[in-house]
Structures are given as structure tokens and as C-alpha cells.
């Protein structure tokens, strides 16, 4: 697997230089590995800070900007950031109204953000955390680390970001973030594994006749392997898994997310099928995203995230946003 990089060791820093060069609306600190709004913190506004391993671009740096995140801290590829980054980002983004950490539920992210939050608190910074854990492929039981956070992260960051922009207090922003997470479910399917630059070869092997169902976003194998099928059947498997966990109904926001190596034409094919399966179950797709939003390096495949909307959530979803990866209304 060839990679368009200068070397496995510098990929995160090199990409940060590219992000800095491409987006004048961002202030990138490659040294400390944080991405901030160029406009600086807005006094009185709750600051949203997120982060996680790299390799999921545009998550999270691509969601920094008006109406969404105030700062992102990218770790090494697939490795959660260290507490220093989170503290640095929180301090730099803080506008005097507290900081919301949006944390995807992985042991590493949880521990590093927790440590950072404790140290922030010691410094007198008010921090709340919301845990994103939307992946129905993982059984949510005492026998696991709990569900993974995947696609719903985009919804949480967008919707909570919109509320923060209105000047809402930290508790309110955290409340809506948790509500989005509670109303969202995801499921992913891989047609091929991804290759981490440092590993140099795919994390698992899949034949031409197989797919992995219930994959995460770190190249880990899924819950089960199954025969390769058409887009309609694979989309059906994803919708069914989501529906079994949280029956789909009413107005929904849907993301058909590419894992990084699947071309847009195929994502549209899959989205048509997802929309069809949802309609069959009586849900109405009223808002949607189709594209690469929470990727897993060069993995081929897709994930589906369904969020059950309320009037408030729809309104906040529609509010203006201006980030590299999501932009409307300004």
C-alpha cells in the first residue's frame, strides 16, 4: 500500500502544515499539535474542544470554525492525543464561559481527556465532557469498554457548536450534546482494511468475496465477516443493525460516511439504498450528509449514522457553520 507521505514519522505534522496552508480561517500550532479558530476565543462563548487520533480527517481539525469546534487536538495516527494537547487547546480556546470536551468513547481518549480535564479544573478552568458512543456494532455491556464513538461525533459537534454560538451556558451546551448522542446510532461496513503508515500493511486481510460488518474507525476488524454483497444488501445490514438497537422512525438526519478509500459515486449508490431502507421502516430523511467525514485512512467502506431529530436539533443543525469540511449559511 503506497502512501502519499514523506514518512510515517512526520505524517501528522506534515498534514498539519497542509491544513494551515489551506485554511486561513484556522490557526494551526504544529508544535503543540492544536488547531484553533484564527479569530481567537469569543468572550462569553462556551468553547468546544475535541480531538482524537489522526487518520480520521476531516475529523476533527476540519470541523474547527464558526458554529462548530473552537479547537481540535490531533494525536498520532489512531492514537488519542496526550493531556498536554487538550490542556493547551482548552486554555487557548477558553472564552471565559467554560469548555466542553467532546470525547469519543475509546479508553485512550477517555483517559487522556479525563487527565486533561482534571488538570484544567485545578487551573480553575470549568470543563464539562460529553462522551460519544453511537456504534451499535459494539455490545454495550459490562464486558466491553462500551460503545465506540464514530459518526455521531459530527452531529454532536455541529449541533452543540451551534448552540454554543448563541451564547448558551455550558450546562445547556453539554445537555444538547448528550441528547444528540443519545438520539444517534451508527454502523460501519468495510470492503477492505486500512493500512496505518507505521504498520505498513493492512490491519486485516479480506478476500474479494468478503466484507467486515460492524467495523470501527481504527482498522480494527468488525464483529463478523460475511459474504460480499451488493450495495442494497450492505446498506440493509447497516440500517437493520441500527433499527434493532433504536427503532428508526420520524424525521431523521442521516450521514452516509465514506471510510476514506471509497469514491463518492459509490457513496451515493449506498445512500440511495439507505434512504430506501429507512423509508421502508417509516422514517423520513429530512437532512443528510454524503461524503468522507469520519474516515479510517484508506479503508474502503462506509458507515451509516442516523439521528432522530427534534425541532430544536433540526434548527441547530441548520444554523450557519463555517469550517473546512462543513459550511453553510455564511
Amino acid at each position: 500500500m503506497k502512501k502519499l507521505i514523506n514518512g510515517a514519522g512526520s505524517v501528522v505534522t506534515d498534514a498539519l502544515r497542509g491544513i494551515a496552508a489551506a485554511h486561513p480561517g484556522l490557526r494551526v500550532d504544529p508544535e503543540n499539535r492544536i488547531v484553533l479558530r484564527a479569530s481567537g476565543p469569543r468572550p462569553g462563548k462556551v468553547a468546544l474542544v475535541s480531538g482524537g487520533g489522526s487518520g480520521h480527517e476531516p475529523l476533527h481539525g476540519g470541523f474547527v470554525g464558526y458554529g462548530m469546534l473552537d479547537a481540535a487536538c490531533p494525536g498520532e495516527v489512531f492514537t488519542s492525543p496526550v493531556p498536554d494537547q487538550v490542556i493547551e487547546a482548552s486554555t487557548a480556546a477558553h472564552g471565559g464561559a467554560g469548555v466542553l470536551h467532546v470525547v469519543k468513547n475509546y479508553t485512550g481518549d477517555v483517559l487522556n481527556f479525563r487527565m486533561a480535564a482534571e488538570l484544567c479544573a485545578e487551573e480553575g478552568l470549568e470543563v464539562a465532557s460529553v462522551l460519544v458512543d453511537d456504534d451499535v456494532a459494539v455490545l454495550d455491556s459490562l464486558h466491553t469498554a462500551g460503545r465506540r464513538g464514530t459518526g455521531a461525533t459530527v452531529f454532536v459537534e455541529k449541533i452543540a457548536g451551534a448552540l454554543a454560538e448563541t451564547g448558551a451556558p455550558l450546562a445547556e451546551v453539554a445537555r444538547v450534546a448528550r441528547e444528540v448522542n443519545a438520539r444517534s446510532r451508527s454502523f460501519g461496513v468495510a470492503l477492505s482494511a486500512c493500512t496505518a503508515p507505521a504498520a505498513g500493511k493492512p490491519t486485516f486481510e479480506l478476500s474479494e468475496a468478503e466484507v467486515e460488518l460492524g467495523i470501527g474507525i481504527h482498522g480494527e476488524p468488525g464483529r463478523s465477516r460475511s459474504a460480499m454483497r451488493g450495495a442494497r444488501e450492505l446498506a440493509g445490514a447497516a440500517v437493520e443493525a441500527i433499527d434493532e438497537d433504536q427503532p428508526v422512525s420520524g424525521d431523521v438526519l442521516v450521514m452516509l460516511n465514506g471510510m476514506g478509500g471509497t469514491p463518492l459515486i459509490e457513496l451515493y449508490v449506498a445512500f440511495a439504498e439507505v434512504a430506501g431502507h429507512l423509508a421502508d421502516r417509516g422514517a423520513r430523511v429530512v437532512r443528510s450528509l454524503v461524503g468522507n467525514y469520519v474516515t479510517s485512512l484508506d479503508m474502503q467502506g462506509f458507515s451509516v449514522t442516523v439521528c432522530h431529530l427534534t425541532d430544536e436539533l433540526t434548527r441547530l443543525w441548520d444554523a450557519p457553520v463555517e469550517t473546512p469540511a462543513l459550511r453553510w449559511g455564511r
Binding site: G53, G75, E76, V77, F78, T79, S80, P81, V82, P83, D84, Y106, T107, G108, L111, N112, M115, A137, V138, L139, L142, H143, T144, A145, R148, A196, A198, A199, T203, F204, G216, H218, G219, E220, P221, R223, S224
Partner: protein
Amino acid sequence: MDADFFVAWIEEAARSVRDRKDELTRLDAAIGDADHGSNLDRGFTEAVKALGDRRPGTPGAVLALVGNTLIRKVGGASGPLYGTAFREAGKALGEAPEVSAGDLAGALAAGVDAVRRLGSAAEGDKTMVDALAPAAEALAEAVRAAPESPGAAVAEGRGPAGALEAAAAAALKGAQATIPMQARKGRASYLGPRSVGHQDPGAASAALIVRALCTVAAR
């Protein structure tokens, strides 16, 4: 055992992790995300550098610096877990310039407890705890069996080096015992039954780190 001994331990651990980096990554690729080797290599390399720069004067200060460095440089699950383990172990050693095998056993136990608490992991969950806990117990046991009389104990193979050999063997056995387990913590837990049949990468690295302690003591 003085500060130099502990610095030598970390240097040896760093060497060993570097040597086995690809293997650790391979283990992590099977049931995780293929970064454990690079994570620990980065962390221990930085720890060795920090020790060289700051040269702390007591065993406790050495371990505290190692722990802080791991937390500041590794990320992932293993960064905070190993970092906290070293910090707590360092705290347990206090400010003494020299420590005994018994002190070390207490420190290791404190480190393991910290991992257990932070990760809410018990033995059998298929994590580094499955290598660290038996190592700590074996060390405590060996020390209890051969109370502090350096000369004699070392001759019988039950002094620091002998006790540490027992700990290293227990860690390795514990790591290998993770193979048939189904993971209940960390990334591997997402795989459910598919996590069975693979060694936990964190348990494997823990065995390397304990083994390094023994290697240095045997010099």
C-alpha cells in the same frame, strides 16, 4: 538499588521495546489498531531522553519522571495507564536514595493498583493487568520468602535478581495466558469472541518491561 539502577532499567526497557516494536504492533493490529509498538517506542525513547536531561537523584524521582513523560508523549490507552503506573510506583518509593527489593515489590504493587483503578480492569480482562498483577505478586512472594539479606539471597538466586526473575517469568506467563481470553477492556473488547486466540499487546509489553528489570538486576 539506586537511581542509576532505575535509569538503567528504563534504558533496557526502551531497547527491548524498540527491538520488539514491530511485534507489538502486529499483536495490536490483530485485535486493536496497530499502534502499540510505536506508542511505547515513542514513549520510552522520550523517557530515556528526559532522564538524560534531568538526571533525577532518587529511584522515586526517576519513576515519576518516566511516568510523567509517558503521559505527556504517548497518548492512547497505554500512555495514561503506564504513565500512571510509573508515577504511583515512584510515589510509593518516596524520596529514599536507595531502595530494597521489598520497596520495589511495594512500588510495583502500587503501580498495578493504579492501572486497575484507572482502567477499571481486573485480571482476566485481557489487558496489561494480566501480566503486571502476577509479576507484582511473584515479586512480593519472592521477597517474603527471602527477606532482605542481600549476600545469601543473591547466592541462592533469591535476591533482587532471583526475585525479579520470578516476577519476569510470572509476567510472561500472564501475558501468554491472555491468548485464550475474551477481552473485556480496551479496543480488543469490541471484537467480542473474535478477540480470543490473540495475545494482548499491552500484556506483551508489560512482560518486556518487567523482564528488563530482571536483566538489569542480573548484570
